[in-house]
Amino acid sequence: MDKFRMIFQFFQSNQESFMNGICGIMALASTQMYSAFDFNCPCLPHYNMAYGLGILLVPPFILFLLGFVLNNNISMLAEEWRRPQGQRGKDSAVLRYMFCSMAQRAMIAPAVWVSVTLLDGKCITCAFCTSVPVETLGNTSHPLLSQGEIQRVLARIPCKEIYNGQELIANEVAVRYLRCISQALGWCFVLLMTTLAFLVRSLRPCFSQAAFLKSRYWSHYIDIERKLFDETCAEHARSFAKVCIQQFFEGMSTDLVAARCHLPRKAPEDAGEASKKLLGITDRGTMNMALKSWHRCKPPLHLHSPAFPSGNGWAGEGQPPVYPSVPRRETAAYYSLV
């Protein structure tokens, strides 16, 4: 009992820590993805904004969906949501709790991506380089051409090798300005997320602790129940298969006895365990027939009850067993009665 309890504690603590572990791995994966990604600003007026904001916002969305996909509990939530009511009422508080805890974990990797992107600065530099305030940072008195030309020059700010507007506005000045704004946004974003997390975590005990405990218990219960049901079904399937196969072999051996007129039931009492396990199949030909029969004509998924208690039945002394009046769907040639 103690060992059982120890293992169960580990299992239970393991599931939460397993989820937290996946969450942490995804956060690390998102930073790794960002550093491995080769950022390549197009340096063209209208493409910059699309590229920059796309890199800032599309991968977080993908990571968020991935966070849901990798979470095992999503199928449990869906099942609990869609099942018919039956004899068990549905508690929407439990569904809300499950959804909230999954959503919280799924939001961590996208938040990490957005923070790292903003703190690094390349995306914002690429996206907003055409909106740099040239009046304050550069010299607009430079006799340059139209607005479009200025935009094209400014769009090349992230690409230092092809930048040709040094007289209009120095490249380092513009990059420093944009990066400063990007980092400020990044830190504000991180501060906001952390404050939200703190508020959510600390206000909960003040308001609805009892309801929270209830929802948490029942959501764990649903998970455990589902696992136990799967285990019970697996055990049942195992027993089913065992009995089915046993009956198959018994049927084969009966069949062979009938067909080949062997001496019936030469069950020698002194033969021992191993001989009993042979189930009457004692030579190659018979075994081959058994294997062929298993392949060609599998028995129906219908176990007949073992109506021959020991000491009765085969020998012909007692009355033949009463078969149930259940219509059989498949003919089973080896149910022949001798």
Binding site: D2, R5, M6, F8, Q9, Q12, R83, P84, G86, Q87, R88, L119, D120, G121, L137, A170, E172, V173, R176, Y177, R179, C180, Q183, A184, W187, C188, V190, L191, T194, A197, F198, R201, S202, P205, C206, Q209, Y217, H220, Y221, I224, E225, L228, F229, T232, E235, H236, S239, F240, K242, V243, P300, L301, H302, L303, S305, A307, V322, Y323, P324, V326
Partner: protein, 306 residues
């Protein structure tokens, strides 16, 4: 039994050590964050101060909040503070003790960030280069005030073209860095002396009350853990009974609807018990369908009374 006891002892001692471990990890994380962070001063007159002081003070707030969030004891303390009194009186000393230990652990990482920032010096150079007195630095003396402001703002950016040939910027940097490092070391010294005094002088004041508070805060932690474990065990047993009850009721239903050969209990052993009377494909399918469409009520009182 021995193994269980060993693990339980580890479990018990590990609540404090887990919190200390988290505190240490956050401190390391703050140093790592600082080294990874690419500090780039904007070198513009109005932005320098905001940027510099922002980098010095906003991440510590974030680290402090993280320290509170990651600490399990903060939830316990809030729980204990807000719970209705019921049959158990509330002890304010315990709540105060828990609060102070949480705060102490949560302030380690922010303080480390601030000290590392000051010892490195970049933040202060960026923030205060615009507020320097130009009279002290000869080269800047013969330009207009606006240009002086711009030049001073550009001091943190060493590779700016204006700065490359100007040696006064080095003087400004050195001056500011010296102040920054002095401030950093002083804060570190003051904090360590304060910690030393607090720890050394504590036994002189009310040691018995402190021991009591610590014991009861530890107790609350353990009680919460054991409650959660017991709930898990209970829900497992509940589920087990519920499923068994479900299989049995299916068996009864099958007996009622289809006249199988009556299965007396004495002949059946071993596998037959496990099969619960569900012995063909149709019955299995029906069982699975019933499980989905009509889950059994969460009431195992009949099963336990049997």
């Amino acid at each position: 039994m021995d193994r269980f006891r060993m693990i339980f002892q580890y479990f018990q001692s590990s609540s404090e050590s887990v919190m200390n471990g988290i505190c240490g990890l956050l401190a390391l994380a703050s140093v790592k964050m600082y080294t990874c962070f690419d500090f780039s001063c904007p070198c513009l007159p109005q932005y320098n101060m905001t940027y510099g002081l922002g980098i010095m003070f906003v991440p510590p707030i974030i680290l402090f909040l993280c320290g509170l969030i990651l600490n399990r004891q903060s939830l316990l303390m809030l729980d204990e503070w807000r719970r209705p009194e019921g049959h158990r009186k509330k002890d304010l000393a315990v709540i105060r003790y828990m609060c102070s230990s949480i705060m102490q652990r949560a302030t380690v990482a922010p303080v480390i960030w601030i000290i590392v920032t000051l010892l490195d010096g970049k933040c202060l150079i960026c923030a205060f280069s615009g507020s320097m007195d130009p009279e002290k630095f000869v080269r800047f003396a013969n330009v207009t005030p606006v240009q002086v402001e711009q030049l001073l703002a550009k001091v943190p950016c060493k590779d700016d073209e204006l700065m490359r040939n100007n040696i006064s910027h080095k003087a400004v940097s050195r001056y500011l860095r010296c102040w920054s490092q002095a401030l950093g070391w002083s804060i570190l010294l003051i904090l360590i002396v304060a910690a030393f005094l607090a720890r050394w002088l504590r036994p002189c004041f009310n040691q018995a009350a402190l021991m009591q508070a610590r014991h009861w805060s530890n107790y609350i932690d353990i009680e919460q853990k054991i409650f959660e474990e017991t709930c898990c065990e209970h829900s497992r047993l509940f589920a087990h009974k519920c499923i068994l009850h479900f299989f049995e009721s299916m068996q009864q239903e099958i007996k009622l609807h289809r006249f199988n050969m009556p299965r007396e209990g004495e002949g059946d052993e071993g596998e037959e018990d496990l099969l619960q009377g569900i012995t063909d494909q149709d019955k299995v399918n029906k069982l699975l369908k019933t499980w989905y469409y009509e889950k059994p009520p969460m009431d195992v009182s009949q099963a336990t009374q049997r």
